[in-house]
């Protein structure tokens, strides 16, 4: 074992990788290097001799699943489909019940790396193009049996799912009910359903020398409204500190919302309705709130302070939900 990682000849990930690439894979050339980041998973960079030549891989191992996250085989299928469609993401090569092996891609996934880029507009354009490329994958063009069936109305499906999650809790959350009810008021008509990343934000992008090296963490991918990814990218949750709270950089901490939506619309060849994005931004905050509740329970169960603190940071998300609900309903506050 090395840093909690099994590296023997019989290690499941080595067997799976060897089978997938169809070549001889020897023991790692150097001790696996655990990579930073990942709250639900652990990652190691592994340099392996493949047919006598050193190749670099990343092993992603499950720590746990949360809310609607995918199991690893399903996550592999989605990332593979995205890679084959030309989305910038490390090539996934092998998987097991609790791991994925992918090619190593250079860069840092720290949110600070995104905020520190010299040309945020250029990176925003790159991200918008990447998202538009992903959103070209539709259920009629791509079979992904690992995912739940495409919903006829993604918004209504999500509201129902979130209410079910609230019903499973021991206390009521009126602010979340307030926001969910507002989303039923004049919702945008169901739009096209596409493959959504589900967690498209700083922290899940590899940035190398100011440019996008790859999109990571596909465990929340699903069929949905493309504006779900756009709304998620624009959420303001200071507890997670990826946007930094600046309205001028409302889109992912990089650029203004309008600028990003413009980049996306040009890349997708499809106009973006700001009101539809607002709907999904409110939905995104409701999702964050539910994440916070789940993380709190896990933190308490596991004795981890930072996770448990998510429960207290719920108030930040609730403030945003109240503000966005006013905007959605057209309340002049």
């Amino acid at each position: 074992m090395d840093g909690g990682l099994e590296v023997s000849e019989r290690a499941d990930w080595r067997l799976s990788l060897a089978e997938r690439v169809g070549r001889r894979i020897d023991a790692p050339a150097a001790p696996p290097l655990e990579l930073a980041g990942g709250t639900l998973h652990r990652h190691w960079r592994i340099d392996l001799p493949v047919d006598g030549r050193i190749e670099r891989f990343v092993l992603r191992r499950t720590a746990s699943r949360v809310l609607d996250s995918l199991p690893r085989p399903a996550e592999f299928a989605v990332q593979r489909a995205a890679f084959e469609a030309g989305v910038a993401t490390p090539e996934p090569l092998a998987y097991g019940s609790d791991f994925i092996v992918m090619r190593y891609a250079p860069g840092s996934a720290a949110p600070a790396a995104v905020r520190a880029v010299a040309d945020p507009d250029a990176l925003a354009r790159e991200l918008a193009r990447t998202l538009a490329c992903l959103h070209r994958l539709t259920p009629d063009r791509l079979a992904l049996p690992a995912l739940a069936a495409p919903p006829a109305d993604p918004g209504r499906a999500m509201i129902a799912a979130y209410r079910a999650l609230l019903d499973a809790r021991s206390r009521a959350y009126p602010v979340l009910e307030w926001g969910l009810r507002a989303l039923e008021h004049a919702p945008p008509a169901p739009h096209r359903v596409v493959l959504c990343h589900g967690d498209f934000r700083a922290g899940n992008f590899l940035i190398d020398d100011g440019r996008l090296s790859g999109v990571l963490d596909w465990e929340f991918a699903r069929w949905g409204d493309p504006c779900a990814d756009l709304g998620w990218f624009c959420t303001r949750y200071k507890g997670m500190a990826w946007r930094g709270g600046s309205a001028a950089r409302a889109a992912g901490g990089l650029v203004g919302r309008e600028a990003f939506l413009g980049h996306y619309a040009r890349a997708a060849g499809d106009a973006v309705e700001p009101r539809r994005v607002l709907y999904w931004e409110l939905m995104a905050n409701l999702r964050w709130a539910l994440f916070a509740l789940v993380q709190t329970e896990r933190g308490l169960d596991e004795g981890l302070l930072e996770r448990a603190l998510s429960g207290r940071r719920l108030a930040e998300i609730e403030a945003e939900i109240l503000a966005l609900t006013d905007r959605w309903l057209g309340v002049d506050a």
Partner: protein
């Protein structure tokens, strides 16, 4: 009103955080929340319970209704659309704003200014 973890659990986690890999920022935040809660005492929770009782027309001198039960009732009414319009809607909105503001005052008082609607309610 106050979200989980309660202050005892929060303090215990912060005290034990040395071995859990939690950073100093989290420990400092936990202790700051505990200190602000101790300073505020029961007043924010009492105010929250009183607002809920007013929303449901509890008269002076009546046995106090369980605020958690009133909160569940409020959530159910919201979901059912019973508060979509009408004279009680503004009072409910004000209650929700006041509750979130009171929680932020203990968790992240520096963030209150980030949302202008939080200024609509009187400070406790």
């Amino acid at each position: 009103m106050r979200d989980r973890p309660d202050v005892d659990a929060l303090t215990a986690l912060a005290d034990a955080a040395g071995g859990s890999g939690s950073g100093p920022d989290a420990v400092a935040l936990a202790h700051a929340i505990a200190a602000r809660e101790a300073a505020a005492g029961a007043a924010p929770v009492d105010a929250w319970a009183a607002r809920l009782a007013r929303l449901y027309d509890a008269s002076e001198g009546e046995p106090a209704a369980d605020p958690a039960a009133l909160e569940r009732r409020l959530a159910a009414e919201l979901r059912a659309g019973a508060l979509d319009r009408g004279p009680r809607r503004a009072a409910v909105r004000a209650h929700l704003i006041a509750t979130v503001r009171a929680k932020l005052a203990e968790v992240a008082p520096d963030l209150i200014a980030s949302w202008s609607l939080l200024d609509e309610v009187a400070r406790p």
